[in-house]
Amino acid sequence: MIDRGYYNGFGGAFIPEILVATFDELEDTFRKAKNDPAFWQEYAALMSNYSCRPTPLTFAENLTRHFGGPRIYIKREDLNHTGAHKANNVMGQGLLVRRMGKTRVIAETGAGQHGVATATMAAKFGFKCTIYMGEVDVERQRPNVFWMERLGAEVVPVREGSRILKDAINEAFRDWVANMDNTHYVLGTACGPHPFPEMVSYFQSIIGQEARRQILEQEHQLPVRVYACVGGGSNALGIFNGFMKDPVELVGVEAGGRGLDTGQHASRLCAKDASVGVAQGYKTYFLQNADGQMQETHSVAAGLDYVGVSPILAQLKESGRVRFEAATDTEVVEALSLTIRTEGVIPALESSHAFAQAFKEAPRLSSEDCIIINQSGRGDKDIFTIADAFGDPKWQEFIIGKAEKYHA
């Protein structure tokens, strides 16, 4: 590997020797695909035929009126097949797997969206599929586990470490080092060793390309700000890529959990608890202690509950091109509630972080301007988590009743 994927000192490829040849092959396959104009056409056609692309840019008229500030637009990644932007990356990598002639895919998943998307892709392309998922996440995302298994994937609950997303990534790597001859690891976000950050951002950039064209069609002007939530960073990089060279302020919103000063959050770029380190094959900001041991993270949104962050975003933080903020669990649930009632769209808890930050800032912006919020996924399929976040008593009654029926 000649290009090791550095972004002003972040990134790299810290991989065990056994995987070097596999990464060389992946890098080579990706490079050839990226340089082949027919490949992007094939990808865009597949996404249009299979996953409702281009996704709409919805004018949120009621939210706009509610805040009395800029015209608010929502990029509807929730309308992808399987309900999130994860489909973009997964279908793109599926095309690469086919080019490499591999027959099995593995993936990690946190919230379950990436796992469901990967299982869908595997079913469509005829690949065998194994999904690694932290035991804690298996518990809180049972409906997604159900669908992965229906789609023919084997779901392996990970009982090591803190039993969440980072531990699932480690287990996927352990599978890969044994089975790389026929297996591709479909990493779900713009993290990990090179070429994953570049490759995942490349597939997700379809979001930003569409959003830029759509806002110019509808508004005849660029947005002043674009908001996206940041877990690993793939939906944020996807939409930001469309506006990188424009005079548009880009805002990434991390999981503030119970507050940045509580130690119970997943904010790597806003919180003082994070520092630069090397883990899971790449260099970036991690939530780690002074010895370099990774710390437990917390977020109401499983998909943001991760110790590291894309090396590309770490660079964009240091260069100042992207501003990073954090929204707390409470702010996020309020923003979600307001969005559902006011606009009739149901963002995922992850995406609601972007809404929460946009709502904090909207009243201070001019009504002459417009902003875009990336709705990276839909919330209705996370009904168990969201019902819990709302503490909905009727839902609890229903579950108790349902459980009693199963016992009878």
Binding site: E17, E160, V177, Q288
Partner: protein
């Protein structure tokens, strides 16, 4: 330094034994007793693993040991202190094994300085290929320590040469794909791979991943210079206690 020690030792013994422990698992006191038992049983060198929260190259047994050590409160400082005591007490060379973040957070040059001062001979850092390790390599050279690099069955001949040009002490040859602690088939294929390793370097060759009994060690005689016993001793300690580890090792050769 390490290389000449190993080559001298190989004049007396057909094959050398390298063992491994995770420091702080299940406690630092037991770790030290394990080292003592292993040295008495005649091991020629040892890997002391500094536990890390994300040990991606390790299989379930060593992974579990890493996590237990950390949840019992093991720190890098305690590991440095324990390694120093071991190096002072026993004659054999000791190596650190850990993941790069441990060195990176400590400061690579500061960490290697500590290694030299505390009497360590070298280090194995499985997630640090030489392309990412310029700082590490220059610091290790400055303190005359041996950076141990890894060959795998998927490593090309050209890459083996490149790795060998950075390696000192010996080269660690991984027997197969996968993580530590799974079964390995000791076969003709393995022999052909070791031949390929031998052509790439004049350094002694250690073979690790899956060496678990006397038959495996016998198979390696004449083919590799060092047999690496990793996971098997942890399993044994967990099942039968520290004492059984000594007699197990004494029976390997």
């Amino acid at each position: 330094m390490l290389e000449s020690y190993l080559k001298n030792r190989l004049k007396e013994r057909q094959i050398l034994l390298m063992t491994h422990i995770v420091m702080g698992y299940p406690s630092f006191e037991t770790s030290f007793r394990l080292i003592e038992a292993m040295v008495r049983a005649g091991v020629d060198l040892m890997e002391l693993q500094i536990p890390f929260s994300e040990p991606v190259a390790d299989g379930p047994v060593i992974l579990h040991a890493n996590q237990k050590a950390l949840s019992a409160g093991a720190t890098v400082q305690q590991c440095l202190d324990m390694a120093q005591t071991a190096a002072k007490t026993f004659e054999i060379p000791f190596l650190f094994m850990s993941y790069y973040n441990i060195l990176f957070k400590y400061g690579v040059e500061r960490f290697t300085g500590e290694m030299a001062q505390r009497g360590l001979s070298g280090a194995i850092v499985p997630d640090l290929p030489p392309e990412e390790g310029a700082d590490y390599l220059s610091a290790m050279n400055m303190y005359n320590l041996s950076p141990i690099f890894i060959f795998s069955p998927t490593t090309s001949d050209a890459r083996m040469k490149m790795l060998a040009s950075h390696a000192r002490g010996f080269v660690y040859c991984v027997a197969r794909k996968g993580v530590t602690g799974l079964d390995t088939r000791f076969s003709e294929q393995l022999e052909a791979y070791l031949d390929r390793c031998r052509r790439a370097t004049s350094l002694p060759l250690a073979l690790g991943f899956g060496v678990k009994d006397k038959a495996d060690v016998d198979f390696l005689k004449g083919k590799a210079d060092i047999a690496v016993i990793g996971t098997q001793t942890i399993r044994l300690m967990e099942q039968e206690g520290v004492e059984s580890v000594g007699s197990f090792i004494a029976g390997l050769r």
